[in-house]
Amino acid sequence: MNCDECKGLISQFLDNELEETQAASIRTHLAMCGDCAIVCEDFASILDICTGESADELVPAHSKAMWCRINNIIENEIKAEQTVAPPPQKRFWQLSFGQLATALGCIAIVSSLATFVAIRSYFVPQTDDFTTRSAATQTTFEKVLSKVGLMETPQQARDRRHKEQQAAIEYWNARVQTRRIQWDRATREAFDRNLQVIDESVSEYTTILNQDPEDELSGEMLDTVLSDKMNLLRDFSDL
């Protein structure tokens, strides 16, 4: 028996799976060949280690459950990665550098023009008080500010002014009532006639504005007659 034949049969020799004649030949060769004897010893050592430990020590308890848990953990990690960072979708458009530069240039020009128009519109000379102005004479900038609630609309300004006028009228009317007793009959009648004419106008414009709040002319006239009423009361409160 040569060395190759011996090495090929060593494993079976150690497992006692060879016939007695072959086993005797191997024993004879190992006695004479030092190399094959070393290989045989190595195999024998490995075999001793494996056979020396119990199966319980090599296979962990509940290995099936453990492998299930590991599998679950791996699957969850994969799902989490998919949720946090979805794979980038492919864009339906693509711009070259030149196209991108042109687009940015257009945006800059449009925004500059919008700013210029807004500033020019905002600084248009205004001769009228805002309370007497109409929506038609509002600048674009003022309309935008009114829309977003940063500035009151002409209607809101008008309502506010009317409330102030009514408050002043009540004040002067109270003073007139205290003085009225001292007037002669002609003065009382003249005062009442004028007040009646003013109140007719106030009623007329109020009715029109209830039907059409956008009627700026009636709003302006209502403002005027309320001022007239206030002036009449103030003038007669001196008498």
Partner: protein
């Protein structure tokens, strides 16, 4: 007998009536209190008058002095004009401290170039022959305003119930404002006048431009307001009549 007894009684009654009539007349004469005073006027004199009730008439004349004459219904009424810094102040309300002094009728003569600022609570205001920088006439309630032969750069006439009549010239870059609650406003001005105008008569929509209607006239708010321009439009004319009519007449 019966008649004989009546005759002396009738005579007595007649006599008493005559005596009472003369007594009443004498009382009436005594009640009409008069006031008259003259003040020297400078180049830029101004008249500022505030009356309670009565008619105020202001006339321009060719003298550098202001003549004030007034007739007062109530004998207790007082008038104390003051001359301060070129302005003659007459304030019946202040001078009588709110007392009812009845009608006080003024006739005031001022230099042509005097500025006139008059107002009253009730009564008519009449101004004529004034050629200055300002004519203002304001009636708090009832009364007519009549402005004739006026050549002023700033004119303002306001009343409650009553008519307003303006007969004068429109000065270049002048400002003219006429406002009434109820009455007729008529403006008589030269056809060659240059002004921008806003005329508003919301209730009646009766705005008659006459010869002053042109291609630059616009009707707004269903005819409640008319705006326009004549000539180069250097002056500004604002007319508002809440419940009356507005008329432009060619002078």
């Amino acid at each position: 007998m019966i008649f004989g007894s009546k005759t002396p009684s009738s005579k007595t009654t007649m006599l008493l009536c005559v005596v009472f009539f003369f007594a009443l007349f004498a009382d009436e004469v005594a009640a009409q209190k008069k006031f008259a005073r003259t003040y020297p006027a400078g180049q830029n004199v101004r008249l500022s008058l505030t009356n309670r009730t009565g008619t105020v008439t202001v006339e321009g004349w060719n003298r550098q002095e202001i003549s004030i004459s007034a007739s007062m219904e109530a004998p207790a009424a007082t008038i104390v004009p003051q001359s301060l810094s070129g302005t003659i102040f007459v304030n019946v309300l202040k001078d009588n401290q709110g007392k009812d002094v009845g009608n006080v009728n003024f006739l005031i003569r001022v230099p042509y170039n005097a500025m006139v600022d008059i107002e009253t609570r009730i009564g008519n205001l009449i101004v004529s022959n004034v050629r200055s920088g300002l004519v203002r006439a304001h009636i708090s309630s009832e009364g007519d305003i009549t402005l004739t032969n006026i050549l002023a750069k700033n004119v303002s006439a306001e009343n409650g119930i009553g008519d307003i009549f303006f007969d004068g010239e429109i000065q270049e870059s002048g400002n003219y404002r006429f406002s009434s609650m109820k009455g007729n406003i008529n403006l008589r001005i030269p056809f060659t006048s240059s002004f921008r105008f806003v005329a508003t008569a919301p209730s009646t929509r009766s705005i008659s431009l006459g010869a002053f209607a042109n291609s630059e006239t616009n009707y707004l708010g269903d005819g409640r307001r008319v705006i326009g321009k004549t000539g180069d439009g250097s002056a500004t004319l604002t007319v508002t009549n809440q419940r009356g009519t507005i008329g432009f007449l060619r002078r």
